[in-house]
Symmetry: C2
Subunit: 312 residues, 2 copies
């Protein structure tokens, strides 16, 4: 029986593993099918993780140290895919693809969310080299430069507005001529001098060289193609919330979710199911930042320790 | 008019400053009477801040980098004492000791809480060298060693229990023979084999040498003095919540507090007063960890940016 099973190896899961193992729990296992690290390993430079400020350090470098720190305190990583989590009496059963199930007293789910890609030519190749899905993370790299945003929903326009505080100009490329975003958000964006809405238009290709993005080819509804020179392209076409492990075979979730599939938690990262905690981008109101996910993970692990002590 | 006034220069305030300034806000000012850094600058080693794992780095080293990172994005530090914060129409007025008041669109208060000291001989001199007020932070440094805990309330016994997972033995030194802690907590502690309750006893002196704590002199109610050899002493005699800036002259708070004086917030670090945010140990349910406070600060700053955009 594990003291704590952690599902997901991004910042939230790793931080939970560090706090759970350093806090003296036995048998703390982090399940992550690939290498731990999460989305951040795709970043070519990190400058907004508080206290970490060394030029030229990549997301991968950063996560190497982080993993090492967790292992030093006894956390174990199992490179396996978790299919599902269910409660059985006072403990949990973790179903693992192609392996025997594992029992655990407590579970922290930190499987995050995955930004969708638009499927545009050049997008995958240039991801992390000018193509981004996070304005808060990467906007500053384009200070006083022009950037393009792809999308027409609330997130796209809010992120465009965020970028307009930093960048000299923000082009919003949207395939329709109306926006799904809230009317007040659309109004605000329209009133912002350095945002240009380019509607009825799609991105044909994101163009780059060895250094990264240099521009985009766009096409309007008349079929006219033009070129915009921008060093940064922000894609906001939605997120997939990775909540599948919390659902049973009938698709029913084992704890309360909101209408977007995000897990409802309190300030202690407790879910509606006793002994089950959630940390990071999978929860409601997540700020989708490494330091926030890490804070969540630490909070969840400290709650797990209290929970186990209370059961004793 | 400042875009954002941040009050308090610990991890929560600095992280808020980083995110607010990097997010493109103009005039982000952090008010902290002394050097920024907070409680953590008193730590001789940090090993539980996720991603930061270099032996021999002190809390002070860590905070130096952190400050530098904030200044790089334009945050300004004013070494002044804030006396109070009040709302006036759609903005805030920050009253500063011996200076003119400052106006701000938004305020993030991150003044934290201060662990009380017991007033025992040797305590101040050996603080950070074997005397600690945080089991989560420092317990691991005493893995498989004996430690003493001073106090008899809920926190003291919960922290003693936490330490019992890590340390070989935990002596709880309490001046009375009954405990203020919840009966269930007392029961749990009594059932824990490696916790010894030493009641009706006070600590006369914490004894140390150049390397740190080596033991304690304790005295029972008959006046007998004995010596316990322990390399670590954890003092849990309460916290002062630093909420004074949120109170007006009559002692009334400008936002909702709980019965302990902690500020009530939601997952977005919003208080009950529009435009006022709180981050870190000052809020309800704070885990009192650097990474958690830093996560709060980032969350609060991102909410400030949204709030200002919505007002525009």
């Amino acid at each position: 029986m594990l003291d704590c099973a952690i599902i997901g190896g991004g910042p939230a899961g790793l931080s939970a593993g560090l706090y759970a193992s350093r806090g003296g729990l036995k048998e703390v296992v982090l399940f992550e099918r690939g290498l731990p690290g999460g989305q951040i390993t795709q970043s070519s430079e990190i400058e907004n993780y508080p206290g970490f400020y060394e030029h030229g350090k990549t997301g991968m470098d950063f996560m190497d140290t982080w993993q090492e720190q967790c292992f030093a305190f006894g956390m174990v990583h199992r490179m396996e895919e978790v299919k599902g989590v269910r409660k059985d009496g006072d403990h949990f059963i973790i179903d693992i693809a192609g392996k025997e199930s594992v029992e655990a007293r407590t579970v922290i789910v930190a499987t995050g969310s995955t930004p969708r890609r638009a499927g545009v030519k050049g997008e995958d190749e240039l991801f992390g080299k000018g193509v981004s899905t996070c304005a808060t993370c990467d906007g500053f790299f384009y200070k006083d430069k022009e950037v393009a945003v792809l999308g027409g929903g609330d997130t796209a326009l809010e992120e465009a507005h965020y970028l307009s505080n930093i960048c000299s100009k923000v082009y919003v490329i949207h395939r329709r001529d109306t926006f799904r975003a809230a009317p007040s958000t659309v109004d605000r964006v329209k009133r912002t001098a350095n945002i240009e809405l380019v509607t009825d238009t799609t991105i044909e290709e994101i163009v780059g060289d060895a250094m990264g993005v240099i521009g985009i080819n766009i096409k309007n509804k008349s079929g006219e193609v033009s070129y915009l020179e921008v060093p940064g392209v922000f894609v906001f076409v939605g997120h997939n919330v990775n909540n599948a492990v919390l659902k049973d075979e009938s698709g029913e979730a084992i704890c309360e979710l909101n209408e977007n599939g995000q897990v409802i938690v309190d300030l202690n990262m407790r879910t509606s199911l006793d002994g089950l905690f959630v940390a990071g981008d999978l929860r409601i109101d997540a700020a989708k930042q490494v330091v926030c996910a890490a804070g969540d993970g630490a909070t969840a692990a400290l709650q797990v320790i209290s929970y186990i002590q209370e059961q004793a």
